[in-house]
């Protein structure tokens, strides 16, 4: 019996090691968690894509370089998570003093349904949430490959569901001024999201102030 216990112990230890290594030390139980971990460790690289906003203006995404970005990925005909996520984004937007942080922070809702979400549709959608088109912009990416590029860069998974719907990640993506993914925030926790964003923006500001002095 003693020998049996030892063997069982050895199997348990080996099994524990197997589980330990396959979950990166019990930190990533889903592949998604692992991808986010890998993503944060990546060197900064700014997405080089052309976008069109809800005012019909076209520009390169590097327009936003140097600012923190709070991004969500949506499609306007979505009836489930997106409206909830966007209205929560509005709460966060209202909680943050944009007069104060407007230069260092921008809210972006990026549509991945390029076919249906035209500039007009996006502008109407922006109207629902009082997005002003400046400090909060709704974006579309005309080029499919470029859209794919930014989705894969921030590891946003979009799977078509049925004829007209998509299943997709619903999170607030806080992007660092250098294009790196900062945080992936739960869109239901608006207080926490607002705090995290202000903290991130202020930490950069204080560094700049020190540098200026």
């Amino acid at each position: 019996m003693k020998k049996e216990l030892i063997i069982s112990g050895v199997i348990l230890v080996l099994g524990g090691l197997l589980l330990f290594f396959s979950t990166s030390g019990f930190t990533a139980f889903t592949m998604e968690a692992q991808r986010l971990q890998d993503l944060k460790a990546q060197p900064p690289e700014f997405p080089n894509i052309e976008v069109v906003d809800n005012k019909g203006r076209e520009y390169n995404f590097d327009e936003f370089e140097g600012r923190h970005m709070l991004m969500t990925f949506i499609y306007t005909s979505c009836a489930t998570a997106c409206p909830e996520m966007s209205s929560n984004m509005k709460y966060v937007y209202d909680m943050i003093d944009m007069e104060k942080y407007g230069d260092d922070l921008v809210f972006l809702s990026m549509s991945f349904d390029t076919e249906r979400d035209t500039v007009e549709v996006l502008d109407r959608y922006a109207g629902y949430f009082d997005a002003d088109g400046e400090s909060w912009r709704m974006l579309r990416v005309p080029d499919d490959e470029e859209l794919e590029e930014i989705l894969s860069m921030y590891e946003v998974t979009v799977i078509p569901e049925g004829d007209a719907d998509f299943q997709h990640n619903t999170s607030f993506y806080l992007i660092e001024p250098d294009g790196r993914l900062g945080e992936v925030l739960d869109y239901r926790e608006i207080d926490y999201a607002a705090e995290t964003i202000v903290e991130a923006v202020e930490s950069v500001e204080s560094v700049e102030e020190v540098a200026a002095q």
Binding site: M1, K3, E4, L5, I7, S8, I11, L12, L14, G15, L18, L19, S22, T23, A28, F29, T30, M31, E32, A33, Q34, R35, T157, I159, E161, Q167, T170
Partner: protein
């Protein structure tokens, strides 16, 4: 020995590319059919290993405890949402699935089962019940997709599959506890 050939045939059948594609296209098929059948193929193949490597089992698995522990470790590993995703995306994890479930879960469990007391059997069923209950809760009530390759609705289906397993185990335990099994399996039975 006939069982061994059935088991091997089942394993090879499951490994056929079209069969694999089909069973992995739906999450509930993947977890509740493919993985379960791989495990079953191991159960069927056990007599072969017993016959040719019986010494190893007698030496290291006398009471059945190590076999059960090994089975539970492998089971737990494949319960992780991550491993299922990886099986789809990384070839050696897929291979590991086809090796570990039959040979490291099915074979040792059948060897252990013969040696275990009824109390021990009930304990194993209880452990399974707890694991599957947790899985039921996790997959039905999780608000985010746990597997990148499958839809939310697939995930909930898998959760209900686990709920069904739990129900079966509960019914079995009640049956064993409240009926006199010896009336059904007398001395003349093969056991």
């Amino acid at each position: 020995m006939k069982q061994f050939w059935y088991g091997l045939a089942l394993l090879l059948f499951l490994a056929l590319p079209p069969v694999r594609d089909l069973l992995e296209s739906v999450m509930a098929f993947h977890m509740h059919m493919q993985m379960l059948l791989l495990f079953v193929s191991g159960l069927l193949m056990e007599p072969f290993f017993q016959k040719h490597f019986g010494g190893v089992f007698d030496k290291y698995n006398k009471t059945g405890l190590p076999g059960v522990v090994l089975f539970l470790v492998i089971l737990l590993y494949w319960m992780l949402p991550r491993t299922m995703d990886e099986a789809l995306e990384i070839w050696f994890v897929e291979l590991w699935k086809f090796v570990s479930l039959p040979f490291l879960a099915g074979v040792p469990l059948r060897d252990s089962w013969k040696k275990m007391s009824q109390t021990f059997e009930i304990v194993v069923f209880m452990i399974l019940m707890v694991i599957f209950s947790v899985m039921t809760y996790l997959y039905i009530f999780s608000e985010s997709t746990l597997c990148n390759n499958y839809l939310m609705i697939d995930q909930q289906t898998v959760g209900w599959g686990f709920a069904f397993f739990v129900l079966c185990i509960v019914m079995y335990i009640l049956l064993v506890l409240f009926t006199d099994q010896s009336q059904y399996f007398g001395d003349d039975s093969e056991a």
